[in-house]
């Protein structure tokens, strides 16, 4: 009997905004999918495409990158680099036929607890519709 597919999503959250927003989601008792796993980085600008690709290649069904809203980066410009790199990664994934829809970039501020819940639920549902990552079969 098959269990409902729970998408394994790895989220890279920046310390100052999105991680704080995720904490606030907790403090305000939002519902966040339990299949989301979180990695805290200091800045979304730390997350190079290779890291996100690695998560995907290691079997994540979806990869989320969350940072401060443009203009609000604690380190001034880090999130702009994150944005550019993400666009590049999406393009690369597309070129390689690797479903760029399994990646998501979201801006979540420290006061957006509810939004964090919304974003993660939306993304999880999106991935659920898509099904497990095709790479999983290759890994097993």
């Amino acid at each position: 009997m098959g269990e409902e597919f729970a998408p394994r999503i790895v989220g890279f959250l920046c310390n100052w905004c999105s991680y704080a927003g995720a904490d606030l989601a907790g403090a305000t008792k939002q519902k966040v999918p339990s299949s989301l796993s979180v990695i805290k980085v200091m800045c979304s600008g730390r997350v190079e495409p290779a890291l996100m690709a690695t998560a995907y290649l290691r079997g994540a069904d979806g990869v989320l990158l969350a940072g401060c809203h443009p203009g609000d980066c604690h380190y001034r410009e880090g999130n702009y680099y994150a944005r550019r790199r993400f666009a590049l990664l999406e393009k690369t994934m597309e070129t390689l036929g690797l479903e760029p829809e399994r990646l998501m970039l979201a801006w979540v501020s420290a006061s957006e607890g509810q939004r964090f819940g919304e974003v993660t639920n939306l993304f999880t549902e999106q991935i659920r519709q898509m099904g497990p990552s095709p790479l999983k079969k290759a890994l097993l």
Binding site: D72, A110, S111, E112, G113, R115
Partner: protein, 426 residues
Amino acid sequence: MESNGNGTSVLVIGAGVAGIEASLLLANSGAKVYLAEKASYFGGNVIKWEEVFPNMECATCMIAPKQQELLQNENIELLTLSQVEAVQGSVGDFTVKVKKKARYVDLENCIGCNECFEPCPVEVDNEFEEGLSKRKAIYIPCAGALPNAPVIDTDNCLRFKGEDCQLCQEACMFEAIDYTQQDEELELKVGAIVVATGFKTFDLTQTPQYGYKKLNNVYSIVEVERICASNGPTEGQIILQNGEAPKSVAIIHCVGREEKGYCSSVCCMASIKQAHFLKNKLPTVKVSQLYSDLCVPGRIYQKFYEEVKKSGVDFIRATVSEVTQQGIGLAIKYKTEDGEESTLNVDMLILAPAIEPEIGSSKLAEVLAIPQDEYGFFSEEEPDLDSVGTSREGIFIAGCAQSPKDIPDTVAEAEATVGKILSLSR
């Protein structure tokens, strides 16, 4: 940050953005800081805003790192629910009596889980949310408020009114609720004092022609800030009293300016910010601003005004004579400078009130023995030259406690008081 204890100790009164900045700088220099805040939370007025102009940065995110730093700084003793009762002595050697009201919650044990609210049977208007939502008698004013621990409002709590209720204590897993806590009288020895007590807004019921609290859907700009706030009573949804989104909004500037006799500096920008926010959230909304003189001083504000104007917001130079209810909407009668009279019909009216000194300023001025000016603001030592000193050496003022101003000028004044204090001890 570790302190080297340079022997200086300072009392900062008011833990808004000015008080926080002054405290952090002083603490980082090695000074011991007592930060007295009369509310149960700190962050002042800035944490009520959703976004600040003109870069539309999230206000709480902007100030959160500073708040965290403050809570973790060993040189700063944050005294919430505290007010200054008496000050004696002189610069370098003040003795201050502070009354610290009981929170009835143990800050060491409380982990901020909020479990104690649900069982409380009392519900009253939440002042932080400008009365737009309710709170319990044991409460935290809003999600994310710091310190993350509730306070018991003894005026409304059943137990403190004589009944035998202990539902909150029963719900607490950490033995954090302590009804036996007492108010404390603290005696502090400090070398200098910074007054950063901020502001309140003009009481809009004094200008009844605009219909505040009389007509439907007339709001003060502070109420609208809470409506727009993602951690506010509507979780950021901009809705009228009937739950629908407004299709047309008017913002009236300078409400109370005539009564007060001065320009409050920031209201034009705050109004423009509101218009920008509204247009972003409700792209088809029609926004009109009624003003007399547009005050967008300095190098960064005009650009913001021009962008907002370009986005389709109507700026009308006019004097408003009367606001009346028209069905569920409002009719605003106004006159432009050429004498022509018109009426603007809108769903929602936002009033931008004047800025006044915070409640209790007169009492504090008396306690500190420093003069107030004719408007009730604390008087600076030398108008036009020294904005942060007062006539009493060792006592400094910063921010809107001195005169209405924006956040950058407030922060600069807070930093200036630190400059003067640290150079005193040469």
